[in-house]
């Protein structure tokens, strides 16, 4: 079970209060941010910072204070080398003392892209030896890796019907098993952004989840949870019937 220590009463900024959108600015990527910090009990003079990061890239943007949320002159991300898979961290910092104390934070926020999409499954391509794909977890968050040695894998990962049905149902199942049965979710209302995204995604296909999702809880019903996960996966596949038809046509052609 995950244990979270919080000696300094650091608050988590609820995800529904955050909106981060990528856009173009002077031919380069920039971002817009909306943030609702009302009624979180934060000091009005505390400063708000947004940090964009991935690998060795890092940029920090001041957004005024809790009382006066203000966009900086530029939120250009142009000096960052790696825009794909960019994450954001939002910090509310009390700077009234000698050291900046973090009063509230939200981390690993994925922005909405200019096309209006917020990807919930980052995909990377690497040498996986003789494996086609692999799911890995970075700080808990799932990443799908494809073997970069497979011809045209970047295009196929997006559009190949066969790959879709061979890979994504298994990925979905593995993520939900990892989240619920391996890690456990003690409080579905107090989860990381990626967990919330995947729970919402799963509920969309499988309906309401079993009440207890914490595998350490005595009332946890593993059989019921596995059954729900299978419903999610089945409904996910059914919802992509057009792709399934394409898949069958491809199979028929080759046989």
């Amino acid at each position: 079970m995950k244990r979270r220590l919080n000696f300094t009463d650091r608050k988590r900024i609820p995800l529904e209060r955050i909106s981060l959108t990528l856009r173009e600015e002077d031919g380069r990527r920039a971002f817009d941010a909306k943030l609702d910090l009302n009624d979180l009990g934060l000091p009005e003079q505390a400063s708000v910072y947004m940090e964009a990061y991935y690998k060795t890239d890092y940029m920090r943007y001041p957004f005024g204070t809790v009382a006066q949320f203000r966009r900086p002159l530029s939120t250009n991300l142009g000096s960052l080398g790696r825009i794909d898979n960019l994450r954001f961290r939002i910090k509310v910092v009390d700077e009234s003392g000698t050291r900046g104390l973090i009063k509230a934070v939200a981390d690993r926020i994925r922005p909405v892209t200019p096309t209006g999409v917020r990807a919930i499954l980052p995909v990377e391509f690497r040498d996986l030896g003789s494996q086609i794909w692999r799911l890995s977890f970075d700080g808990g968050e799932p990443f799908l890796e494809f073997n970069s040695a497979i011809p045209f894998i970047r295009d196929r990962a997006k559009a190949d019907y066969r790959l879709f049905f061979y890979v994504y149902p298994a990925v979905l199942r593995e993520i939900l098993v990892q989240m619920i049965i391996v890690n456990g979710i003690p409080d579905p209302e107090d989860v990381e952004e990626w967990e919330k995204d995947w729970l919402d995604f799963a509920r969309h296909y499988g309906g309401e989840a079993p009440e207890v999702l914490d595998s350490q809880d005595n009332t946890f019903d593993e059989v019921g949870v596995r059954k729900w996960i299978e419903t999610v996966v089945t409904e996910f596949c059914t919802a992509h019937r057009d792709k399934w038809n394409g898949f069958i046509q491809l199979e028929e052609k080759e046989t």
Binding site: R10, Y49, G78, G81, G100, I102, E124, R126, E145
Partner: protein
């Protein structure tokens, strides 16, 4: 001098195959001439001339050289064209994978071919030399003061952690603690996991403090002052 090129996907495949053949005992020279042509590599723009005959005693000097010749080129461009780092590796292969009694010891591919993976991209011997020097200048010496073929524990412990490697003051603080100015090398024992205040402990302490303090806004002095005094005393004073 040679024109910098960008290894293409077929070039990376051919380079990977070469690495594999060496692993299996072949004794071939790196295929520089073959991979310097299309379709294995493409021209990199803007044009850059690199000296393939240079011998770098350390990765620090490699990083310094690359920062000089690539100065003025957008970071985005340099990172988007990952094949340039693989091509440079090919040019300097005898330095990043030297022969010892006629044999080369090939390590994992990520040291020679840029991995897109967040867990091992920093292991690329050439890219990492350029990137750490460009991010931290002289304070990259803890990571880079080693022969070009060495990926040391400093890099593994510090550069692999995003919240640490992006914090300039924190890296300068690590340099203040662990760099021996007299000997011009990392202090003896700083990576020894049995010594109090070793670099692994620094990482652990910083990751804990990062939950409470806004470390990215702190000065070097402020960061050093946060460290447990007794545990880190010997590194601060020596």
């Amino acid at each position: 001098m040679k024109e910098l090129r960008c290894l293409s996907e077929p070039g990376r495949v051919a380079f990977t195959d070469y690495l594999q053949r060496i692993r299996q005992g072949a004794s071939e020279e790196p295929p520089v001439a073959e991979l310097s042509r299309e379709p294995f590599s493409i021209e990199f723009l803007p044009l850059v001339q690199v000296d393939e005959s240079l011998v770098f005693p350390t990765r620090y000097q490699m990083g310094e050289y690359l920062n000089t010749v690539l100065k003025g080129i957008d970071r985005n461009t340099l990172l988007a064209n990952q094949g340039i780092w693989d091509y440079l590796t090919l040019l300097w292969f005898n330095q990043v994978c030297p022969q010892n009694e006629g044999q080369r010891s090939i390590r994992e591919n990520a040291r020679y071919i840029v991995s897109p993976d967040r867990t091992d991209y920093y292991r690329h011997l050439v890219l990492c030399a350029w990137e750490l020097y460009s991010l931290h200048g002289i304070y990259s010496r803890l990571f880079l003061e080693c022969p070009p073929h060495i990926h040391n524990d400093w890099t593994e412990q510090l550069a692999s952690r995003q919240e640490i490697i992006t914090n300039k003051a924190l890296i300068e603080a690590a340099d203040r603690l662990y760099w021996d100015k007299n000997q011009q090398r990392p202090k003896t024992g700083a990576t020894d996991r049995n010594r109090p205040g070793n670099v692994r402990r620094l990482v652990l302490v910083m990751r804990q403090l990062d939950l409470t303090y806004d470390l990215h806004a702190m000065s070097v002095d402020e960061i050093v002052s946060l460290l447990p005094p007794r545990e880190f005393r010997r590194w601060r004073s020596s």
